[in-house]
């Protein structure tokens, strides 16, 4: 009978993504609730050295799926290898991070294993061994509670939402044989941004600019740098060509959940609010006191962003120095 919790971690170039620790921590909590074991798997090539980093989050077993064909993510190689490991482990619950890679993998695995999938969940509740998953729909305008039927359920968790909890315990480490199978896709090239750019979906602090910036993002970038955060943009700023698509926060862009979200010159279209409403604290700076963004913000300043935002940068620098 299917039992236990199976967490698929994500690493890139030998470094775990933060959501991996969130997934293992959440996996530990769910496994304890179910009275079951927690298995965490590390997938890649030459990743044996990092597997031990997971121990402090409390898995009972770590599986190392190490194969040259798993060096870079491809849907088919990862799905084949993981489906094989999952079938031999026979878990009841699979948890992974809903990253770009995780969403792609979760969707294909769900079809392969004929399992229900809760995508991009923001909470897992447990009641008598039943899981209720909370997941945003309609770009976060609605939060649905869902239950998954069947012997196996897959839960993809939204990055940056769930807590990382240290819970070190005795743990076995195994390196099972890996079946990569028939692979029809190859990674031909990979180019990474310069190392200091913070990914929006993982950032603790985001400073975003909108139409009110008039395309002059210098002050936004400066405040983001002072706070050690990432730069985001509204759809209109992206449509104007002021920022790349990868910076867009909103229903048709990235959905973010930082500790602090600072909206500069963003009026607050529903489309944008949907992408940032799960932020812990929201600050809005806008010259229009009637801007809808203020109805979703915790703190607001009415004023010219070209005066207020540089002043904020100065004040932050004073505190940090």
């Amino acid at each position: 009978m299917a039992q236990g919790v199976f967490v698929i971690t994500e690493q890139r170039d030998g470094a775990f993504r933060k959501v991996s620790f969130e997934a293992v921590s959440e996996g530990r909590r769910v496994a304890d609730g179910l009275g079951a074991d927690l298995t965490a798997v590390v997938v890649g090539s030459g990743i044996e050295g990092i597997a031990g980093e997971l121990k402090k989050y409390g898995p009972d077993k770590i599986l190392i799926a190490d194969d040259a064909a798993l060096a870079d993510y491809t849907t088919d190689a990862y799905t084949n290898a993981l489906a094989d490991l999952i079938q031999s482990t026979d878990p009841a619950v699979i948890i992974l991070g809903a990253t770009v890679q995780g969403k792609d993998l979760a969707a294909r695995l769900a079809a392969r294993l004929d399992a229900g999938l809760g995508m991009d969940c923001t909470a897992i509740k447990m009641d008598d061994g039943n899981l209720t998953l909370t997941r945003p729909m309609f770009g976060g305008k609605i939060f649905a509670d869902v239950e998954i039927e069947g012997a196996l359920q897959i839960v993809a968790i939204r990055p940056n939402v769930m807590d990382i909890v240290e819970a070190s315990k005795d743990c076995t480490v195994e390196s099972p044989a890996v079946q990569v199978g028939d692979v029809k896709t190859t990674v031909a090239e990979k180019s990474m941004d310069s190392g200091d750019k913070i990914e929006l979906t993982e950032a603790d602090i985001i400073v975003s600019g909108g139409r009110g910036s008039g395309g002059k993002f210098g002050v936004v970038e400066e405040l983001a740098a002072a706070l050690g955060g990432a730069v985001g943009a509204s759809r209109s700023a992206v449509d104007e060509g002021w920022r790349p698509h990868s910076d867009q926060v909103g229903q048709t862009g990235k959905v973010v959940s930082p500790m602090l979200y600072v909206a500069c010159g963003i009026s607050g279209a529903i489309q944008h609010l949907a992408g940032m409403s799960t932020s812990k604290f929201i600050v809005a700076i806008n010259k229009d006191p009637e801007a809808p963004i203020f109805s979703k913000a915790d703190f607001g300043i009415v004023g010219d962003m070209f005066e207020v935002v540089p002043a904020l940068s100065e004040e932050v620098k004073k505190i940090k120095s």
Binding site: D104, A111, M119, F143, K184, T185, I270, G303, A311, I319
Partner: protein
């Protein structure tokens, strides 16, 4: 090049979404329905590929009667023909059942390449296209911002967190779109007129050889138990001051001393 585009009709992203009386669905009466924005990118990409390489573009959609509007929109943009899977038995299908139905329809349509949006902006499942690729046994590349056809394969650029990867897959294949791929064209007036004469094949679940009890609301693995609106925030606290400097200093003091976030 035989191209198939999967499209879905969804609420416009500017729509206000409200929960219906049953607590597990949304009020649909005041919603403006549009083609899923990521599917617009898929239609545009298919049209550009056809313009460069020849072939035909078939648009496939599952949905109630009014979903034909979205198929007509794609035909008005320039797609050649439509397939509309319209059957009450399919209503309420979850992502896997939807993919089962779409892949059954695709077994009757010749294709080299399938293009779909990476998610529909209603349930945000990110799931149907991948499941279709799985059921058809073809490779997939998701969230593509640039696609090039090479001899017998597709070369796709996809943005990942903090970078870009280029993935190649042999045809037949499926890829899903991400913003940045192209700028979808608007349907022209002559395009809209021509679309009225283009063929749309209507199929039922039985036409596709699917047992109706394996799809639809009752077959859902993912059961919606309740819906709620996002948690309300406390009323905004406006930070006042004589000057921008004063306001900024007051805000930073709150963030630093009260909520200790910086």
């Amino acid at each position: 090049m035989e191209l198939v585009v999967l499209v879905k009709q969804v609420p416009d992203t500017e729509s206000l979404i409200e929960i219906a009386g049953d607590g597990v669905s949304i009020k649909t009466q005041d919603i403006k329905w549009v083609m899923n924005p990521y599917d617009e990118l898929a239609v545009e990409e298919a049209l550009q590929i056809r313009e460069a390489q020849g072939g035909s573009v078939t648009v496939v959609s599952m949905g109630p009667q009014k979903a034909v509007e979205t198929i007509r929109t794609a035909l008005a943009m320039g797609a050649d023909k439509g397939v509309h899977i319209n059957d009450p038995a399919a209503e309420g299908s979850d992502a896997l059942a939807t993919a089962k139905i779409l892949s059954a329809a695709l077994k009757e349509i010749p294709f080299d390449l399938i293009i779909a949006g990476h998610r529909a902006v209603d349930e945000d499942n990110f799931q149907v296209a991948s499941a279709v690729a799985e059921y058809l046994g073809i490779p997939q590349v998701s969230m593509v911002v640039k696609a090039e056809l090479l001899d017998g394969k597709i070369r796709c650029h996809r943005t990942i967190e903090g970078g870009t990867v280029v993935v190649e897959a042999g045809l037949p294949a499926l890829f899903t779109t991400q913003r940045g791929l192209n700028e979808p064209r608007y349907a022209s007036l002559p395009g809209i007129m021509k679309a009225k004469k283009k063929p749309v094949d209507v199929k039922t679940i039985a036409d596709l050889g699917i047992d109706p009890s394996t799809v639809g609301q009752a077959s859902r693995k993912v059961k919606i138990k309740g819906m709620k609106l996002p948690p309300e925030r406390q009323a905004v606290r406006m930070i006042d001051g004589e000057s921008s400097q004063e306001k900024a200093a007051a805000l930073v003091r709150v963030l630093h001393e009260e909520i200790k976030i910086i």
